[in-house]
């Protein structure tokens, strides 16, 4: 083995309240594409940011070309030859393509910036990737794919030796991804080392040479891509040894008779949105608990957002109780159809921190009634008290600002908000993330109760056991498409994981019936 280009050893980094990285390692050789894999919170971004000088590591050592480095800022890392293209394209939208490539490194003659030289340099840099565009136009007038190329052109324009690509493909279509890969191969052939972060397993297997897996801030291992079966990669990422996975389906939970028969309450056919989700069919019956399983970024939340009207579908048809009703155009319309959506990001999309528990609970109900039909204070109190009692929300009073409650109780209040609207279908996106075990059991118990009352529940969760325990039907998603459907006894962690893991070629053979 030649000397590594980059060697990160025992990197630790703590933020207030979290140990983001503990003793993580990463080794990269010249001319290789190295995947950095892990679920949400695994520490991928933090590791990259300590490498590029955005954060300072607390412990550990970094050798770049054999010399110890500790960049204090991205500019210093760039000076050493370490360039990064971040997840969101980091360019200045209203400046020209040419200027974006040169910004901060423009050359002046007699105190005057040489605009002509800046343009020519940009044209040369893009030509390397066979991109020919008008470099004097604003960057924001081009597609995300072109912007991505511009960002990479900027990154390698400074004789970079190491390029970090942080989820560069998340908003590209297949052809664009291929173009990007061609550029990456070209750069590798020139001796550059590339760290590639992505959620798309197919891409990992088609472009990378080796894989480092992180979980909870620790290095789980370093593998050669060709020698690591997908199922093992996933089990490393999720932290579940393959041989310990239960083969049998869930037990104990009796399925209600009604759930498995009868017509669909909501049926969606051929929903899709370009660049977001490939076409899928979906149906759910009253009293049924269905689940969406897949890795982060597989399109679970996007599916929910399409069903709820936050994202608008390009194609397809939605029907309710057998009647075609058109795809939901807005969350408002979805709410009118008695659908509720408890979002994943409690802090940003869910609770309103400074309003009281009562106000947070009646919010969706009030929104549905409109602002003229106000709910009387007495009625509000009654509703709030009912749900505080029923969901066992631990709060000093119904007038307490919701931000002072624990995560689990905030989650329950959010759930109460949707239950107050008396929905027929409730979509729960990661309802148990970041809350303690006691609260989790209570929420699971509640889901079962709702189901018994005839409500349809769509559960999105990264916790495969949770899906296994609660759901009667599971759709498995990978790379923004539905790759399989499991029902009743077929549902097991192992079955779900093998569906997530399957490559396209293997798909047909053991895909579950649909």
């Amino acid at each position: 083995m030649p000397d590594p280009l980059l060697s990160m050893r025992g990197i630790s980094k703590a933020f207030p309240g979290v140990q983001a990285l503990s003793e993580a390692n990463l080794t990269l050789y010249r001319g290789e594409v190295h995947a950095l894999m892990g679920e949400n919170g695994a520490g991928k971004s933090t590791l990259i940011k300590t490498l590029t000088g955005v954060h300072q590591r607390d412990a550990g050592e970094v050798l770049f070309e054999g010399k110890p480095i500790k960049p204090a800022a991205p500019l210093e890392a760039e000076g050493l030859g370490i360039s990064t293209v971040f997840q969101e394209v980091n360019l200045i939208p209203h400046l020209s393509v040419a200027e974006n490539i040169s910004l901060g490194r423009q050359r002046s003659r007699f105190g005057f910036m040489q605009w002509k030289e800046i343009r020519e340099r940009a044209e040369r840099a893009l030509k390397r990737f066979d991109v020919e565009i008008d470099v004097t136009q604003e960057v924001c007038s081009y597609s995300v794919a072109i912007q991505q190329m511009v960002a990479i052109a900027r990154a390698v324009d400074i004789d970079a030796k190491l390029l970090v690509l942080d989820e560069p493909t998340s908003s590209l279509d297949e052809n664009e991804v291929e173009e990007l890969f061609a550029v990456m191969r070209k750069l590798c052939a020139q001796g550059m080392g590339i760290v590639f972060i992505t959620h798309f397993l197919d891409q990992v297997y088609s472009i990378t040479d080796r894989i480092t897996v992180l979980r909870n801030g620790q290095s789980i291992g370093e593998y050669e891509t060709a020698k690591l079966p997908r199922i093992e990669l996933i089990s490393h990422m999720l932290g579940k040894p393959v041989d310990q996975l239960a083969d049998t389906g869930s037990d104990g939970l009796s399925r209600s008779e009604a759930a498995s028969q009868g017509e669909a309450w909501l049926e969606a056919k051929d929903l899709s949105k370009e660049g977001v989700m490939s076409s899928f069919d979906f149906e759910i019956r009253k009293g049924e608990a269905a689940g969406l399983a897949g890795l982060l970024g597989s399109g679970r939340t996007e599916t929910a957002k399409l069903l709820f009207g936050i994202l608008k579908s390009d194609t397809g048809e939605t029907s309710m109780a057998g009647n075609s009703v058109g795809n939901p155009k807005s969350p408002r319309q979805a709410i009118a159809r008695k659908i509720g959506f408890c979002s994943e990001d409690r802090k940003r999309e869910g609770i309103i921190p400074n309003l009281s528990v009562r106000e947070n609970i009646v919010l969706a109900l009030q929104a549905r009634k409109g602002f003229i039909n106000t709910i009387s204070r007495q009625e509000q109190n009654r509703i709030a008290d009912k749900f505080i009692k029923r969901l066992r929300i631990k709060t000093p009073s119904r007038e307490t600002p919701i931000r002072t409650l624990s995560g689990g109780n905030q989650q329950k209040a959010l759930l109460a908000r949707w239950l107050a609207t008396d929905p027929d279908l409730i979509i729960l996106d990661e309802p148990t993330r970041g809350i303690d075990i006691g609260a989790r059991d209570e929420i699971e118990e509640l889901i079962r109760e709702l189901q018994k009352e005839g409500m349809a529940v769509l559960l999105i969760s990264s916790e495969l056991e949770e899906i296994e325990r609660l759901c009667e039907r599971v759709w498995v998603l990978r790379d923004r498409q539905f790759v399989g459907e499991l029902s009743d006894e077929e549902i097991s962690e192992k079955a779900i994981m093998s569906l997530i893991a399957h490559s396209d070629e293997m798909e047909g053979s053991d895909e579950a019936e649909s």
Binding site: P74, L75, L91, I92, H94, L95, S108, M113
Partner: protein, 322 residues
């Protein structure tokens, strides 16, 4: 697209059209309006506003705001007058010290904004009160300046031929315009200002010196305001702690009318020059008319401002669709 003007230049073009239309209407209505003398007058009369607005342009391009400029003008004019008349300083010394004070004051506000991540609006609002207070602390009264240098400079005009001449204040305005134009277009500092105003997080990740640039922008605005204060003393031969009250609002208005986006990152220094000329044209037209109330200037600027904000909004949302 058959449209030949790049989207980028639409606001600037609109500003130019507005200026030509306004000047044209005034020329048709008022005899003698369409003359070189009036154009020269536009520069002289509005030199102090223009110089403040140039500094303000870079601040707004960087995504910030500077509310302290009017107060700094007031402080500088009082300071210069008091030092010359009561402490017998040579005007050049007084000017030099005033420029340093203005620059340091601006840099100080920039540091507060950058290092403590405070909103520019509040920091410079504090600066507004502070500088106005300091102006009164230096001298409570208006004070006339009587100095040989001032007497000499009054006739230091640049002849333009045809009996016309450019006053010193107008020349200073033009000099500041050239300087700011150069900074905005041909220096790394200037381009970094655009980048920070466009997307500060990206600018940081691109490795641009965000802190240094932000502080520099407020320092430059402070420098411009102090220079505008000095121009005020040259124009009025006096210093008054009340000078430049609400001037910051006029400055912001002409910058926005000049086509600079209030959210930063988009705009041109040349637009601000046009904005000042529009402002001046309205004032001159009202002066020529003789029957119109001078408060109409405010009304007209207010209407123009609203129209331009709507225009910018339309352009920005069109850009997002594309």
């Amino acid at each position: 697209m058959s449209l030949k003007i790049s989207r980028k230049y639409v606001p600037l073009t609109a500003t130019f059209v507005v200026f030509v239309v306004l000047f044209g209407i005034a020329s048709l209505r008022y005899e003698g309006f369409a003359s070189a003398a009036v154009v020269v007058e536009l520069f002289s009369e509005n030199a102090f506003l223009g110089i403040c607005a140039l500094g303000m342009t870079l601040v707004i391009l960087s995504g910030g705001i500077d509310l302290s400029v009017g107060s700094v003008v007031g402080f500088t004019s009082t300071f210069v007058a008091t030092m010359i008349m009561e402490y017998a300083w040579h005007p050049i010394n007084a000017w030099a010290v005033a420029l340093v004070l203005g620059t340091v004051f601006g840099a100080g506000m920039g540091c507060l904004i950058h290092f403590y991540k405070l909103p520019a609006f509040l920091v410079t609002l504090g600066g507004l009160f502070f500088a106005r207070g300091m102006a009164y602390a230096v001298n409570r009264e208006s004070l006339g300046i009587n100095h040989d240098l001032y007497n000499g400079l009054a006739s230091a005009n640049i002849p333009l031929g045809g009996g016309l001449s450019l006053s010193l204040t107008a020349s200073l305005f033009i000099a500041f315009f050239v300087l700011t134009f150069y900074i905005g277009r041909y220096t790394k500092f200037g381009r970094n200002v655009y980048a920070i105003g466009g997307d500060e997080d990206s600018a940081l990740l691109m490795g641009l010196p965000v802190g240094r640039t932000k502080i520099g922008v407020y320092a430059f605005s402070g420098f411009c305001s102090a220079a505008a204060g000095i121009v005020m003393t040259l124009y009025t031969w006096s210093g008054n702690p009340l000078n430049g009250v609400a001037l910051e609002l006029d400055a912001i208005a002409v910058v926005v009318v000049g086509g600079t986006l209030l959210t930063g990152g988009v705009g041109f220094v040349a637009g601000t020059l046009l904005g000042v000329l529009i402002y001046g044209t309205i004032q001159q037209a009202i002066y020529f008319d003789g029957n119109l109330s001078s408060s109409l200037t405010s009304v007209a600027i207010g209407v123009l401002l609203l129209i331009f904000i709507l225009l910018q909004k339309a352009i920005v949302s069109k850009g997002e669709e594309a």
